[in-house]
């Protein structure tokens, strides 16, 4: 009984120590990635290529999701508000929901599933096929040449994708609310204009997406770079990338929301 309990304690201790070691390694890795930013800025072609594969290729899923989320939000909002004769506030409900919360969070979750997993798999496979090792032997630092441009591309792309998500969601909400369900068009836009504050709502929403972009891309590139160089290792790293990103986004969202919107 005592030995089982000791084993249990040992397991917990080993897990905590392992997690701390991993956190330390990932922080050192992040430091190396950030040191490569100057090199990446001096070679904009590399960054543009990654912006295309990380950002532009994620547009489709962001656009479709934003449209449907905006439409559902407007539909459900209308059903609730109309009972109280407050359907003119539909624009405020849709816009504040998307700008403060749903836009940054959903865009980050979709981004981690589409671009984050692709980054992890790509870097992990490059490691498994010795491409990163061959770069090292060619005296080319794989962190600066491969990882930093991808990290920067993710960090830049997510806030832009989030803005697109918010704008499209609000417009889709307008289409459902005003064009289909008959909410007054002027009320939809003017109430939104009155209630949504640039600094308090829009800037805070974008700050959230910047933080999410940083964390999601960091997790993705670290998981790929530290993956075991086997097919199972790459598969596990890709799964971890999506799971850790989702958990980090949701936890950080709570912290940021509490800091930004509670007076």
């Amino acid at each position: 009984m005592l030995s089982s309990f000791m084993n249990f304690l040992q397991m917990i201790g080993a897990y905590i120590l392992g997690s701390l070691a991993d956190l330390g390694k990932s922080s050192l890795f992040l430091g190396q990635v950030l040191l490569g930013i100057k090199d990446t800025l001096l070679r904009p072609k590399l960054l543009i290529k990654e912006l295309y594969s990380v950002g532009v290729l994620s547009l489709l899923i962001i656009v479709f999701s934003a449209i449907f989320v905006g439409m559902v939000l407007s539909l459900l909002g209308y059903v609730t508000l109309v009972d109280f004769g407050a359907e003119s506030s539909l624009g405020v409900l849709v816009s504040l929901s998307l700008i403060r919360e749903l836009g940054p969070v959903l865009a980050a979750l979709l981004f981690s599933g589409r671009a984050g997993s692709a980054l992890t798999a790509e870097i992990g496979l490059m490691k498994a096929t010795e491409q990163l090792a061959s770069m090292e032997m060619m005296a080319v630092d794989p962190i600066r040449r491969i990882v930093t441009p991808r990290f920067m591309a993710g960090f830049i792309s997510l806030p832009l994708l989030t803005i697109i998500f918010m704008a499209l969601g609000i417009y889709a909400g307008y289409l459902v609310g005003s064009v289909w369900l008959g909410v007054d068009e002027g009320s939809y836009w003017s109430q939104m204009q009155n209630k949504v504050e640039f600094q308090h709502d829009i800037v805070n929403g974008i700050i959230k997406s910047v933080v999410f972009g940083f964390v999601v891309t960091w997790i993705a590139v670290y998981q790929g770079y530290s993956a075991m160089p086997t097919s199972e290792g790459v598969s596990r790293a890709t799964t971890n990338s999506v799971v850790y990103s989702a958990l980090a986004v949701l936890a950080l969202d709570f912290v940021l929301t509490a800091m930004m919107f509670i007076n």
């Binding site: 491409q131 090792a133 032997m137 060619m138």
Partner: protein, 282 residues
Amino acid sequence: MGLALMKEKDNNVSETLVTIHDLHFSWDGGREIFAGVNLEIPKGKITAIMGPSGTGKTTLLRMIGGQLRPVSGSVNVQGVEIPELNRKELYQARRRMGMLFQSGALLTDLSVFENIAFPIREHYDFPESMIRDIVLLKLELVGLRGARDLMPSELSGGMARRVALARAIVLDPNLMMYDEPFTGLDPVTLGTIVSLIKKINSSLSMTSIVVSHDIHETFSIADYVCILSEGKVAATGSPEELLNSDSEFVQQFVNGKPDGPMPFHFPAQSLVSDIMNGDSGC
């Protein structure tokens, strides 16, 4: 046989390019891969590192290239102590080294031409016409000038290895390392790679280290052979000396005999006690 002072066996050789002294290494404190390896690689020659699978041949190459650090001991390349270098100095030292990986390790998103041009573009600001000339010359050397526009996925295993070879020598390194260059090739490609290694070593005045367990091909081009076993240098000498060696171990290895001093089993407790203990360990 302890310290392999190969250079003393050849009067024509006056310098040592790589000196390894009392090298110890293990993965995360586990089984010891190297338990005091001593080795000297003469300049301008082809030295083969051989031995059974799992003896650390590739690990040794990675230590020479600075990709792994030893637990203790010295790895000196051209007068530079590799394990003591910082990141910047290590990358500087690697500019004078080339390595052919077993898989080729070509960058899959770049064409053959761009793969070979990659190290030049990364390190030098040469005009495009000069890069083109250098790449085409290297491709001509490996017989693949006509394949310059192909992607790595369109190459056969042998072609990929030749492209990787061209890329490894594009910066004209002093030291060229080959990790299992003969594995998985058809007889014609195998012959091509064997003759290319010999040709490149002599025409570009390089020093080559070939890691392999293919006796016939390796012995046909190597000036010296070093056989590793159980974490130490088990035998050294010219191919002729090893073929005529009295050592039971060497004879078992070079002739591929199943029985001999080389252990077949990975270290473990006895089969009877393993079974009687009843712990499957699964």
